[in-house]
Symmetry: D2
Subunit: 313 residues, 4 copies
């Protein structure tokens, strides 16, 4: 996975958000152009339309759960695939115009989720500061920078300070030290990158109607091949209560025998199976590579070939 080539890239904006930070965390050509889009569907639609080469969007958050807009958009419409993932810890910065000191902050603006995730720190450190809602964490920073804010400081993604020329008063804020958001870079279908031994594969499974044991069947297809699930989200199909699709991530790569056989099994038992990409896992220290498993599958394939050819393995 080399740097992103010179091209136009979409991200769920506005400028100065965690999603932009996720995109900028990837190595990329100096001439790459990054374009904010007002919504996840808009960003992904720009990819489908060929306006951009790929789009960075959030897919799940360890506190809030899956991002419905991303899950639903990937599950339906023209197929798209994930080619990279980025994990960002949810750490906010309190920022203000140059000259403002922390002890002078009487009010701050931010998006409600950000306020919720820093509530404990604020109670301890800015007990008398009043909170005002903004349309996004970045919008609060922009308002400060533009002089239109009715508050002294913005609680935003660190990148917003650079974007809007603000000073960071405190960094690394966030009451839950485990809070992390996962972002994915999405493009039109491309051949999967080479397996690295520590990959993830994303799929969407549509259940056959009125099939109570369908989810058990799906999980069995994975378990029988030793493929571990790392995320599962049910989403309504829109056809009525109790009608679901499942958005799933598992360990491994589509070119590995275990994942390939599991995908074929899912293809057989599901009403529809949509492949959403195999790509390197972003964890600092992912689980050990499963090459041994692949060799076990290859050995069994060679044995079957001998049995079929000469009646003796």
């Amino acid at each position: 996975m080399g740097p992103l080539p010179a091209a136009r890239y979409a991200y769920f904006g506005p400028r100065g958000t965690f999603t932009e930070a996720a995109l900028r965390s990837l190595p990329m050509h100096a001439d790459a152009e990054l374009l904010p889009y007002p919504s996840v569907p808009a960003a992904l639609e720009s990819v489908r339309a060929g306006d951009t080469a790929a789009a960075m969007v959030p897919i799940e958050n360890s506190v809030e759960g899956g991002v419905p807009a991303t899950l639903d958009e990937l599950a339906t419409g023209e197929p798209l695939v994930v080619t990279r993932e980025v994990l960002l810890p949810v750490r906010f910065a309190l920022m203000a115009r140059p000259g403002m000191r922390l002890e002078d902050v009487r009010s701050f603006g931010t998006f409600p989720h950000a306020e919720a995730q820093c509530r404990k720190w604020i109670a301890e450190n800015l007990p008398h500061a009043t909170y005002q809602t903004a349309a996004s964490t970045a919008a609060a920073a922009e308002a400060i920078a533009g002089g239109t804010a009715t508050y002294d400081a913005a609680l935003s993604a660190p990148i917003a300070a650079t974007t809007y020329g603000l000073d960071v008063l405190v960094d690394g804020l966030g009451d839950n030290p485990h809070a992390v958001t996962r972002f994915v870079l999405v493009s039109r279908p491309v051949p999967p990158p080479l397996p690295t031994g520590a990959d993830r594969t994303s799929i969407v499974l549509f259940i056959r109607e009125d099939h109570p044991g369908a989810l058990l069947e799906i999980l069995t297809e994975l378990a029988v091949r030793g493929v571990n699930l790392t995320r599962i989200e049910s989403r309504p199909t829109g056809a009525g209560l109790g009608r679901y699709l499942f958005s799933i991530d598992c360990e491994g790569h589509v070119d590995e025998a275990a994942v390939g056989e599991a995908l074929m099994g899912l293809r057989r038992v599901c009403a529809d199976t949509r492949y959403l990409g195999s790509y390197p896992r972003a964890e600092a220290s992912p689980a050990p590579a499963s090459t041994s498993s692949d060799s076990v599958f290859r050995e069994a394939q060679a044995w079957l070939a001998r049995v079929r050819e000469r009646g003796n393995g």
Copy 2:
């Protein structure tokens, strides 16, 4: 399940929403008092605090999916249980001040979800009307009624017309005929109502850490007892990506042998199992009662008792 007794009941407000309509759809004592709360957590907190006897909140929508605030609030904190459920089709009404005619509507206000769900009808019937966002579908109606609206009509729950004294110009709007929202009435723990033969049981399951096969194990516990799953949602526990709890509905009643045995099995294999109530299913025509299944379980229990007592079934 008789009518709700005279008491105070909370609902996720404001007045004039589908949630209020869900609560009012239940038979209740003439002196029952219905109180809107500004959020799902606030409504449920009023129950926990003893301020209200029960709260009506939305739990899932056939288009949007589970309601995270409700799922998370029921899964943690002081235990609560569901005692009733209500299903409401998602059918909007276009309403205006008396005198306004449909053909005169040049603009309308509503909550974005409502606009999205009626987009097709609007394109066909009010192609030139402009859309303005409101804080809720009820807020749009209230603004019309109060004369503060900058639009001619409100796209709201039918109940809002009564609440705010408006005329319904068109009723039954909604592009997806399958769209339905499920609401639950939540109280502090009480003994389950008697089984009706067509009940639902809700539970929350906390997975043991680092246990890839946990979900398969959970589903097997249910399947072995013939207990059908009707809803499953994964929610993050907040302890990091890949750490989930599962919010589950299944057919049957905790007092039935199959559900009881399945719950004991889940209790054994999960880190924690939270019971959220057994209550009558609200479908117009639910699946046939599972009394035969209960008799099969009772027969097996009687057989085991004989074997244990005299060595011969």
Copy 3:
């Protein structure tokens, strides 16, 4: 499957038994030579040694169960494969030297199993006849023919009358109308015959030591691919109580995708997997051919190939 070519064929003797009848039921070249062997191991050893082209041996009986000598001999030693199977109803004939009439029979000889399977008929039709044991059903017939018998008639396989020149007094005897024996023709490893759409595949599975869930795992490997089990026998490995191998027949052919994938799965989870052949099922009306299943597997393989090649199924 054409007729057996001119060659030497072994069968578990002596002459005049059901096993010989099973072998003679197959179409064969006029110059084929049929040789009785005194035991199942001796017959199979003649195949391994190259003395005979194939051997017919009994493998299971619907009343007695599996034939341990055959099961154990196929499971260990130099590999052999089954190429055909024959089902024979267990119907005995009462035979005597020419001139003897049924009403004159005062005594009869046979092998104990045969006596047991005709006991009811004898009680009703020859209530005063005494029974003497012989080393085999054929030995009784041979003794009658040779004049050395101390009894008037032999209860033997119908073929024994032809073999030893006796008259059949009554035919079609056997108290259990469902009694049937399955015989297999065994050769050194050869490529499997072409699938007919109604085949059977035989395998032997050696369990990993101290693995309580091994059998469940084996059955899951088959079930996930929709492969039906038609016979399962546990046999001790000789390494101590609780140490088993499993001798298994399933529907389908090794060249079919479902069976092939299941065999690879078994190869991965078992300590050893021995292929014992794919061959046409002998039932008069076997289950419908599973070609549709094969097409489902082929479709999934083609889909996976597309996904791997271009990132889109």
Copy 4:
């Protein structure tokens, strides 16, 4: 489990066999009377008829497998239960009339299985001795003692030397050091003995007709409750090929919650479930007691009771 009381006990004879040795290995009242029966069915029939209090019969051998006569007799007819088990290593003794020395043995008699199991020792130690078959290992010893034998020595169970007054020339013979036979003491149905924490439970399961996944279902019922299988034998029901019953042993006691719940599950999914007894395991060092498992089940039962009573576990 105290000593066997004064009563009449049957065993599969003749006198001087391993089965008699198994029965005599149990502590028993001085006035207990031990009676040999000519077959397993005859011994068990004496119990059913009330002629004897219990019968000792072999049930499985680590080299030969299950004993069909015992398995079939326990599976059908009037119910019987196992109350104790005995494990005996298969160790033969070469015995002769007083005065005979090992180096003078020119011939020996025994039952074919015994000859097969000592073949290697004989080849090395009595390479020139000829072998003659006897009706049983005990019959060879009896013939030596009675002076009617045409051979010098008998290869028999050690107990036969005592029974027939012979001298043991060599003891502990048997080529397979793991060879062991398991015997069971069978009585008419009685309440199970108290759990010891290291028990075994025997059952017979009759499969519903034409139900390909039945065995998988059975094993899942056991696995879900954490009940380990220690023996499984398929036996034909006599109703045609492919129609099986399963004779099963598992760890644990019918009075333990895990086994009890598993038995109820089997009762529900099988056409018939026959309980054959819970009794202490005879291994020198059985697996650790499963009391913790029982406490886990009890905890879950108490939790369910609280949920059912007050809506909160």
